[in-house]
Amino acid sequence: MKLRHRYLNPIGVFLIVYMFGLLLFGFCCEAVEWVYTYLNHLFPRIFPVYSVILEKEEYYRLLRIQTLVGLFLTLSLIHFISLKLENKKYERLIGLTDGKYPIKEGLKLYFDEFLATDAITSALIPAVIVIPSYFISYKLMGYFGLIIPNWLGYALKTQCGIGSIIPAVLIAALFSFAGRILAIPLTVRSWRAAWLSDI
């Protein structure tokens, strides 16, 4: 039996990347809002803007959707950055192929070797990102006099209709997994190019 945990890097290495994700999340949510405003400018009927007072329901629904898109973007970016830093996986894949693989073959090798560790990592990331940001970050900022919106509060608490943390973490884990799936082909591509151009 292969000991797959050999390739699992200590979580402390990625903690900085994940904490950086908190800042990134805020920025991504803002960016999605900018894009929505721009789309509203182009197609006002398809992408309407609601009033907070008169159309509260619609306004919150829109906010939730925007935040979930922001969350997905953030998690994909974090996965991409953290995967690029995983030297053990890089070395293993390059050692097997010498960097000469089509993307399909590279993905197959990747999933054969690292599926278990990937499942663990993509489950751990929401636990590290979501819990602090859900409970700490917006309150912590409040102590310093900075008022930031509780994005995850909007997205997850109101989406589920329950004040519980468990559905919130589950949704974030699902999004995290989807983000991981998006990040892996990009990483496999960039590893190949990095190895072949290093002469």
Binding site: W34, H41, A193, A194, L196, I199
Partner: protein
């Protein structure tokens, strides 16, 4: 906010437009040169694939075939990016195009009352992209016709330098125009035209295409 996004989109669009128009100009200029060459020696030119397609996908088929007297040049196009980019062939199939950027920082640093100049130089790779070049398959008509065939790898736009791993896999060599690499001769657009002209002409008169 809408204005800022408009400006950003405009800048991205302009960069893409300039890049595309430079590539289009270079490729069309090369094709015009080939036509002039063919007209000079009353040869024949055939486009087997759309000549802008190799920027995206490489194929087993050659892209252009040029017949001059008894020789058929089977040309494969390879987009070399720009004059800053380097191309490396790891083997017959796998090649990578990339840009090597150098950064140098110079700073004065104090060490216990004394100052020393700190000089840091660092090179890093940007925009590496892998191209897969499948082995060339020729149709039977060339074998039946009895014409001599030459396989050409033509870089257009031409890169800064091309390197390759030798078939013995012992060293990396720089390749120059006219060198044979993995069974193909490599050229840029104008150097190929000059080469084909040199091979064909009888007199010593200079020709400009």
């Amino acid at each position: 906010m809408v204005d800022i996004i408009n400006v950003i989109l405009l800048i991205i669009g302009l960069i893409l437009f300039i890049r595309l128009s430079v590539w289009t100009y270079k490729r069309s200029a090369m094709i015009v040169k080939l036509y002039r060459l063919v007209k000079e020696y009353s040869g024949e030119i055939k486009f087997l694939r759309f000549p802008y397609l190799p920027n995206l996908f490489m194929s087993e088929k050659p892209d252009i075939s040029v017949r001059i007297l008894d020789t058929v040049y089977l040309i494969r196009l390879y987009s070399g990016g720009s004059r800053h980019s380097l191309v490396h062939f790891a083997d017959e199939k796998y090649s990578v195009r990339y840009i090597k950027m150098a950064s140098k920082w110079v700073a004065y640093r104090g060490f216990f009352g004394r100052s020393a100049m700190v000089d840091v130089a660092h090179a890093f790779t940007v925009g590496a992209k892998v191209f897969m070049l499948p082995p060339m398959k020729l149709s039977e008509e060339y074998e039946k016709s009895g014409l001599t065939t030459e396989k050409i790898l033509l870089f257009n736009p031409s890169p800064n330098a091309v390197s390759y791993v030798t078939p013995e896999k012992t060293r990396i060599k720089l390749a120059f125009t006219g060198d044979e690499m993995n069974g193909m001769k490599i050229f840029t657009g104008s150097s190929f035209v000059a080469y084909a002209d040199r091979q064909t002409r009888k007199d010593d008169e200079m020709r400009y295409f």
